[in-house]
Symmetry: C2
Subunit: 414 residues, 2 copies
């Protein structure tokens, strides 16, 4: 008979004691386990080209243009349909990607090391808000920015990271949660903490002062600069709690724009999926919910690790971006305590008298309380080639937790 | 018959519509109005050497050592006693100085321009926390840091400010109040927003990459980097509301460590003073309230302008530094609405549904509600030469408001 309580306690300890540090960068093909020349990683659970959502198709097309494997979007689409490329979830390769989450072989990736458990995870570079590859856009200006990121931003940040000895992401998140960030959609404080820590080294290692100027300015003005290293950091936390016999704690929540999927520690690598829900959002001028793709992206790894939507009580200003009121934000956090196993040791909420964030989603509690995890997220246009149209809040589909609990009962004989 | 309501409304509009931008730096003797070779500015209302508090005496001694006018603390003290030097309040020279607030002729000062009203105010550079001149310390390491600030930090930041076209302090404060800052003792977010905006220019203008590294690192690691420009910025706001006939709004609150003083818009340049109160504080290890000097510094210009202690509801994490609970912080802000005339247009508190901060202390309301303004502050050791011993909260003495209201009644014939 497995001891579920003991297993869950161990898993949550693993989540919390992970100490992720972003140490360097490398091209995906050189650093990501299992990556090959014809592999394209994407967010969420597995998906075929036929079932793939518009923004993910757009990002795939953009990736082939970026890789110079195709010259036109039409050529790229034909190649993607042909079966020549292997599509695989980021999560199966120790990666995480925001929104479409497409990572192609020559893209630079952050390398984040969990120093406690010696686990490495990866994520690509953040392009900023608006018309960007991760939202499904692939116009020439999108590609030009990616080439600049590849040739100027990336190498400079890589050299600065190495010169700095690495940046402790858990320490930054601990501070940022006291500075109005939720750790997912609002990373204003964390991104400038990151920029401020890196900037002295960028000034030192950049190939010239103009490069230093451009790189520091880009990082400092992008309120999501740190999103990708944060996601890889959260994956190093939850990966430390994977595959623990008897644990009912969720180790991955991820969406590909078609399906919402979870994995559960005691159930190994099996995905439990359901149709991705629509997001309750604030839309940018000129867009409405008719333009919106369903929920997409690996960024829900933040909620899985105990921050993001779960920590919204500490980030009331986020409602200007994702809709709702400060009271809604507080209520979300209070609700999430109902379905989590632990309160975080290092991530705390001053307004709730420094209570730890709700950490470790327990599928039993989700079912018992009939309360699905709530996350906050960006919203991509449903068609390839457009980009972001808004941001909002969404609840995970109950079906994935129901299916997981049935599978848990079958496996462990309850 | 003066229209007090109209006068107060005008004063508060002036406070709020001021748009202070830090544009450059210059030596005090070259930029501060009325400064001369034998003048030493200090925080708070006027004070003689005989009545001067320990930390202010310490800072005066340090200033003469820094200026190389004295070779030893003993020699400096003899010169200060001799009557050779003119002591004058910072506020009488369009300056503000934190804690002892000592500004000597060759010190570099920030130049902050209120672009709306074309008013310039000044403040010295921030040394960081701990053993520093503004807390009354003057040992060789304190002086060495000041020389580095004078010769390396200052000139580099000055060049960067000029290259940047100036940094908008009101815009930074608006953001920082949504990032856990109160704008006075907690400036963690504002200081890195400031560093992040300046860093690209520092990288570009610094004389070499090591200088760029050192300067960005110093600014980024000092959570009070922006305190002095913020204080000068707040003075440009309140100065825009000075000398308005019939207004009962406070335009200055300042303490010299011996006396707490205020000025009131409708009462011109007259100081109303009372003994400086003791601070309810959290002390650093090794110190107790027996070591503490009474309340000192010009930094209460932040509360006068509607932030700092008045905005604590938006900065719950500050209680780890100044004592109390998040509930105390919220209560302080709610209380301050009782004694202020306006709610700020640009400084808002997400947790109170984006309500504007309490702005413009009305001496009538202070007396009517028997509720003195509350401020938060650092605490200096009472002896010269030691430095900071803690931080906490303090209420202004009621007497200054009582005396001001009597003077107001006499002047305006109520």
């Amino acid at each position: 008979m497995v001891d579920i309580e003991k297993a869950n306690q161990y898993v949550c300890e693993q989540f919390m004691e992970a100490r992720p540090v972003v140490v360097s960068m490398g091209k995906a093909i050189e650093v990501v386990p299992g990556m090959h020349e014809n592999m394209l990683l994407h967010a969420g659970p597995p998906v075929t080209w036929e079932r793939m959502a518009g923004p993910m198709r757009g990002a795939m097309i953009g990736a082939l243009l970026f890789e110079r494997k195709a010259k036109t979007p039409e050529e790229a689409e034909a190649m993607l349909k042909s079966g020549k490329f292997e599509f695989a979830p980021c999560h199966d390769h120790m990666c995480t990607g925001p929104m479409a989450g497409v990572i192609s072989p020559s893209m630079l990736c952050y390398i984040v090391e969990n120093k406690t458990h010696n686990i490495k995870c990866y994520s690509n570079l953040n392009e900023g808000r608006g018309k960007v590859l991760r939202m499904g856009a692939y116009s020439q200006d999108v590609l030009d920015k990616l080439y600049w990121m590849e040739s100027v931003l990336g190498p400079t940040v890589k050299a600065a990271l190495e010169a700095s000895g690495g940046i402790d992401i858990r320490a930054i998140l601990s501070k940022a949660l006291h500075m109005g960030d939720d750790g997912h959609n609002r990373l204003d404080a964390a991104s400038i903490l990151y920029t401020t820590q890196l900037a002295p080294y960028i000034a030192k290692v950049a190939k010239d002062t103009q490069t230093a100027f451009d790189v520091i300015k880009f990082l400092g003005e992008n309120a999501l600069s740190i999103l990708n290293p944060v996601m890889a950091a959260c994956k190093t936390m939850t990966a430390a709690g994977e595959n623990v016999e008897g644990s009912t704690i969720v180790t991955i929540m991820a969406r590909n724009g078609t399906d919402f999927g979870i994995r559960v520690s005691g159930l190994g690598d099996r995905w439990f999926t359901a149709p991705a829900p629509h997001v309750k959002a604030l839309y940018f001028p000129g867009f409405t919910e008719k333009d919106a793709n369903p929920d997409i992206g690996d960024s829900t790894i933040t909620e899985t690790a105990g921050i993001g939507g779960f920590a919204m009580a500490t980030a009331p200003a986020i409602v200007t971006f994702i809709s709702g009121t400060p009271q809604d934000a507080i209520k979300t956090t209070l609700d999430m305590y109902e379905i989590t196993y632990a309160e975080h040791k290092y991530f705390t909420i001053p307004f709730l008298d420094f209570r730890g964030t709700p950490t470790g989603i327990d599928i039993r509690k989700v079912i018992e309380k009939q309360l699905p995890p709530r996350v906050n997220t960006g919203v991509a246009h449903k068609d390839p080639g457009v980009g972001q149209v808004g941001a909002g809040v969404v609840s995970a589909p109950m079906k994935v937790f129901e299916d997981a609990l049935v599978a848990f009962a079958e496996k462990y004989g309850f």
